[in-house]
Structure formats: structure tokens, C-alpha cells
């Protein structure tokens, strides 16, 4: 086999589905000339679990736990998005306090997702230590969220019309202590990683995506904002309490790996701001709307809802015929589109860059495969 491939100029390398840097079961079929990539074909679907099919065979409430299993890093965001989508279709009003609580939890979840990405990305680049630092911080968030949601990764905390239970004192104290701690740690990361010359060499000018290319491939989320497009659904199509909060949308200009890194790091700081503001204004009141029907039956019609997940534009589309079970349940997951751009930007780079680019796009494979 080896002899045959070597007599030719190029050979194929199966990067994955089992590989330390594909973060799950992604399979990249690379055509290589030495270490230079001539062609790349991402192959997905190894962890397809038929979530859309399940959605069409379950009642709306029964499908709720599925949502956090799609993107296991942003589970609470998916939870939140699904509840918002169904509430909008049914016209359920959510109490003020519940809206604040959901936002706080979703933003904490976003930070934990970005933290994990940060650690894993640096590990892809060969620096092992930031990974454990990031996990140390993430552990705090998981403990805080576990305090109210009862789970660490696959949450089912949001309910139609509110949340499962009210915040407790441990959550409030934990978050208050966590915010300054992470701010300090982000400063450490800046000195340890962001200014590191090797890191800059590995990421600057690598995997450049222009805004035009990004639109062609339907990139969203931090990957898009790194190309200079300030498109954040929390601002573009505001939902929940985001219009009342002050935060910025960090953008960069070059659209390379470094910019994608920088945007996510800046987003963590903005998320901290959101959490701080929302907790400061937390109103009193009930956390669950009264009079939510036992059987959710949205009026016949189709409904779309857009949500800014940690990885980009999460679209939920469902068609109701007025019954208890949706006719169609479609999830537009951001990583699906974000990953497909690899076949465009990888050719011409080196194997080492493949890892740097793949990591910087921040894909979660189960979310692609659904």
C-alpha cells in the first residue's frame, strides 16, 4: 500500500474519524503532496442520532431534553432557544425574573463553551497547560450551573413559560465570586497565550476568510465576526432581555485563526458583562408562567426562530398542524455550515495548519450530525 502511494506524487490521508484533534468523530479525507494539502473532503455523520426524526415523533415537551444533547457544550443555549421558539409560536408570556435567569444561565454556558474551546485549541497547537487552566475555570461554571439546573452538561433547565426552579443563594454567591476570578484569568491568558510569539506565528495569516467568502459559505457566529461583519443575533434579532442590556459585539478584520481566537476571548468578557448586569437587575417574582397548557399545541402554521448559540446562528424551524406533535422539526445548527468551508480554505496549507484551522472554527461534531 505504502509503496504504491509513494510512487505517485500525492497520497490520501484519513484524518479521523479517530484522531486526537478532531474533537469527536470528524473524518477529513486529505489529499496530500508531502505535507501540503491539495484537497480536503470533510465527512460527517458518524454520530447521527436522528434528533429531527425524534422531534417529529415526540410532543413538544418530550423533545426538550433532546435539545441539549445536540450541542453538548452549549446545551443550555439550545434549551433556551427551543423554549423561546415554542413560546413565541404559542404566545406564552414569560415572567420577567425567568427571562433574566435564562439569560444569565445561557451566558454562563456560552463562557464555558468558549473556555473549553480555548483550552482545546491551545492543545491542538501543542500547548497543554492552558487546557487545564481553562478546565479549572470551566469547572467553576459547571458547579454553579449544576447548583440550579441539577446537571453539568446536558441541561433541561428551561421550561415553556419559565425555568424549572428559582436561583438559590449558592448560585448567586458562586457567580459573584466567579466573575472577578475569570476576569483575572483572562488577563493571565493574554500574557500566557495571546502575546506568545509561537502562538502568533501559528495563527496569524492562517486560514484567512474574507467577508465575501464567509457569506458564500453561510458562516455565522464568532467565525463571521472575525471577518469584520458585526452580525450577532442577540443584537440583530433581539430576543429575551438582550435589548435591555449593554454589551458590545467584538469584531476583527483579517478573518484568520488569530482573529477568530481574539473574537472569542473578547466575547467571554462581554458575556461576563451581561451576567453582571443581569444579576444586578434581577427582578423579584415568579419563575414560571401560570396557565401554560399541559399539552403544547401551537396553532397550525410554520415557525422559525433564530438564536445566537456559542457557535453562531442556531435556527429552529417547525411546522405544526395544530396537534401535540410537530409535523416537521428542523434544526439549523451553526457548525454544519461553518465546517463546510474547510474544503475551501484548507487546500494549499500544511497538515499542521489543518489542525490550527479546524480548531479555530470551533465545531462540535454531535451538533453537525444531530
Amino acid at each position: 500500500m505504502l509503496r504504491k502511494t509513494l510512487t505517485e506524487d500525492s497520497f490520501y490521508l484519513n484524518l479521523g474519524p479517530q484522531h486526537p484533534s478532531t474533537h469527536g468523530v470528524l473524518h477529513l479525507l486529505l489529499k496530500l503532496d508531502g505535507e501540503r494539502i491539495l484537497e480536503c473532503k470533510p465527512l460527517v455523520g458518524y454520530s447521527h442520532r436522528a434528533h429531527e426524526h425524534m422531534g417529529q415523533n415526540r410532543t413538544y415537551l418530550q423533545f426538550l431534553p433532546n435539545t441539549s444533547r445536540m450541542d453538548y457544550l452549549g446545551g443550555l443555549c439550545y434549551n433556551h432557544a427551543y423554549c423561546l421558539a415554542v413560546e413565541k409560536a404559542c404566545g406564552i408570556e414569560v415572567p420577567e425574573r425567568a427571562r433574566y435567569i435564562r439569560t444569565v444561565c445561557a451566558e454562563l454556558n456560552r463562557i464555558s463553551s468558549h473556555l473549553l474551546w480555548f483550552g482545546a485549541y491551545l492543545m491542538d497547537l501543542g500547548a497543554f497547560t492552558p487546557f487545564l487552566y481553562a478546565f479549572d475555570d470551566r469547572e467553576d461554571i459547571l458547579a454553579i450551573l449544576g447548583e440550579v439546573t441539577g446537571s453539568r452538561l446536558t441541561y433541561s433547565y428551561c421550561r415553556f413559560g419559565g425555568v424549572n426552579r428559582d436561583l438559590n443563594q449558592n448560585f448567586l454567591d458562586g457567580t459573584k465570586a466567579f466573575i472577578p476570578k475569570l476576569r483575572k484569568r483572562l488577563k493571565d491568558y493574554r500574557t500566557l497565550v495571546t502575546k506568545n510569539i509561537i502562538f502568533l506565528n501559528r495563527t496569524k495569516g492562517i486560514g484567512t476568510v474574507s467577508a465575501e467568502l464567509a457569506r458564500d459559505w453561510a458562516l455565522t457566529g464568532p467565525n463571521l465576526r472575525a471577518c469584520g461583519v458585526a452580525y450577532d443575533l442577540r443584537r440583530a434579532e433581539p430576543y429575551s432581555i438582550y435589548p435591555e442590556l449593554e454589551f458590545e459585539i467584538p469584531t476583527a478584520t483579517a478573518g484568520d485563526c488569530y482573529d477568530r481566537y481574539w473574537v472569542r476571548m473578547a466575547e467571554m468578557e462581554q458575556s461576563l458583562r451581561i451576567v453582571e448586569q443581569a444579576l444586578g437587575r434581577l427582578p423579584e417574582g415568579p419563575v414560571k408562567a401560570a396557565g401554560v397548557p399541559q399539552w403544547i399545541q401551537p396553532p397550525a402554521g410554520d415557525y422559525h426562530f433564530s438564536y445566537e448559540s456559542p457557535r453562531g446562528h442556531l435556527g429552529i424551524y417547525f411546522v405544526s398542524d395544530g396537534g401535540r406533535v410537530p409535523l416537521r422539526m428542523k434544526w439549523r445548527t451553526p457548525s454544519f455550515s461553518n465546517l463546510s468551508i474547510l474544503s475551501e480554505i484548507l487546500p494549499g496549507t500544511l497538515v499542521a495548519d489543518t489542525i490550527a484551522i479546524l480548531g479555530s472554527i470551533d465545531v462540535v461534531i454531535p451538533e453537525i450530525d444531530r
Binding site: 497520497f11 501543542g126 479549572d136 499542521a352 489543518t354
Partner: protein, 337 residues
Amino acid sequence: MSDGILVDLRVIWEALVRFFGLEALVLVIGLVVILAWVQVNALFLVWLERKVAGHIQLRIGPKEVGPFGVLQTIVDGIKLLGKELITPQPVSWLLFILSPIMVFTPVLVAFVVLPFGPHLIIRDINVGLMLIFAFGGINVLSILMGGWASNNKYALLGAIRSVAQNVAYEIPLLLSAMSVVVMSGTLSMQGIVEAQEGVWFIFYQPVAGLLYLIGATAETNRAPFDIPEAESELVAGFHTEYSGMRFGLFFLAEYTNMFIVAAVATTLFFGGWRGPFLPGPWWFLIKVYILIFGVMWVRWTFPRLRFDQLMNFAWKYMIPIALLNLLVTALVMKLVR
């Protein structure tokens, strides 16, 4: 009773000396001692690495087996010994089996000329430094053999990277060592240490010293130069297909190599076994372990370089600087003498 055994031993010893000659006997005993020492030292270094990494990473490292987890690596070694040696079907089995053995041989030879103390050296030959570098070259060969024989694309890529990297970094390594040789006027390891009476060479040759340390890190495939086995890119690089104690040999060789380059650095630049109060061997070991600690510190701090950046660094910066340094050294020495 015990007296009897001693007498017997002496008789045997004298018979052996008469038969083989004293020198050969010392060499054999030395090699046996080295073999034991290499193993113990490598195990200790693995433990040290884990402990250092642990503390750098806000954790404590191994702590369950033995005091401070010292015995952890021994247990791991036993585990490796107990594992099945898998030889994949499509490999070139002779090269595949030879490679881990060959990677370990030059490591042992280098220990022959390392001056642990004023008298603690197995053979002080007058081309000691050359011997170390010459045998160090075999290392590359065995890695290439292993990577090629594995019949695995990751292993092959790792081997190719390794060869290119080692060839590139051996040159500045040698050139910086040559600067020291020009100053001391000898290739004998013991002679180099003696030439550093008073002032260590690192103060005369800071550039060479720095180049040597960088080159040595690359030579031993340590992060940030660990591209031949870059875990996140090439799975495990050239030893992807190796299991059990064959992998263990690669692993031990890596740590022993680390000891050797640190020991050579100590000899060339940091005065070898010289130092006040403590006997020579103690100073030697202390200096070597301090250097190794530095190498570990670097490993757990920096990301990995990319392959072409690594090559650029060697050919465009290190080699010209090393050459210039050697030239200036030679000129100055000519003028001074």
C-alpha cells in the same frame, strides 16, 4: 564464612583480570552499572516531568504509588512490560523490531564518556565529544527506520519530519560545541571540564550556550520542537504503531537523551562537576537536573512550532549565528595566544 566468599571473589576477579585485562573488565562493569543507572534515571525523569507538569498546570501530579508517587513510573513500566507486543501485519518486521533497540544503543554509548566526577568516568578518550555526537546521529536513523517500517502514513510523516529536523539542528549544535572546543583546545570531555577552572564557558560563550540549549531541545524532540510526534497532528508520530515495551524503549530513550544533552551542556558550558563544598558528582547531577527542569518548564509553557517555521529558524538564524560565533571565537583565540 563471609571471609571465604571474599577470598573466592578475589580469586575469580584476579582470574578475570588475567584473562580479559583490567580495562575491558572496567568497561563491562561500567556498562552494566550504566544500564541500571539509565533505567532508574529515566524512570525518575518521567516522574519528575509529571510532577513538574502537574504543578505548572495547577494540579499535583502522581501521588498514590509510593511517597509523592515516586513509584508510579515503575508501576507504569511493569504495565508496559506486561502488554502484548503488537506487530501489525503489513510492517517490515526486521526494521520494525530493530528500531526501538537501535534507538537505545547510542544512548548507552554516550554514557561511557560522560564525566560525572574528577575520577568517575568510564573511559576518558581524547575524542569523547565527537563520540557523543557521532552516536547521537544513529538516533535519527532508527527513528526513520521505525517510521518507515511501520507502514503507516502518520508514522512516515513523523519520521520524515524527524530526519529533516535532526539534520537541521545537528549543525548549530555541533558548531556551538566547536566554539567551546576551540577555546579549550581538546575534544576530551574531562579536558573540557579542566579547561573551565575558574570561569565557566557560558560566560565566554553565551551565544553558543543558548544555541546549544535550543538545538538540544530540538534534537531530543521536546516541545516546542516536538513536531515528529506532534500528538494533535500526527497522533503519535513515528511510534504510532508501537506498543508495549517497544514503545517503552522509545519513551526511555527520549528521557535518557534528555539527560545526555543536559549532561553535555553541563560539561561544555557550566563547568561540569566543578563546584564548592559538595563532591563533584553531586554538582554534576545538580546542574544537569536544573537544566532538565528548564527544558520541562519550556515544554509545558509553549505551543508547538510549525514544521516550516522550525526549519526556517534553524537554517536562517541559528546556523549563520553559530558560524559567526565560531569564526569570532577562532579569531579571538588566535590573537590571544
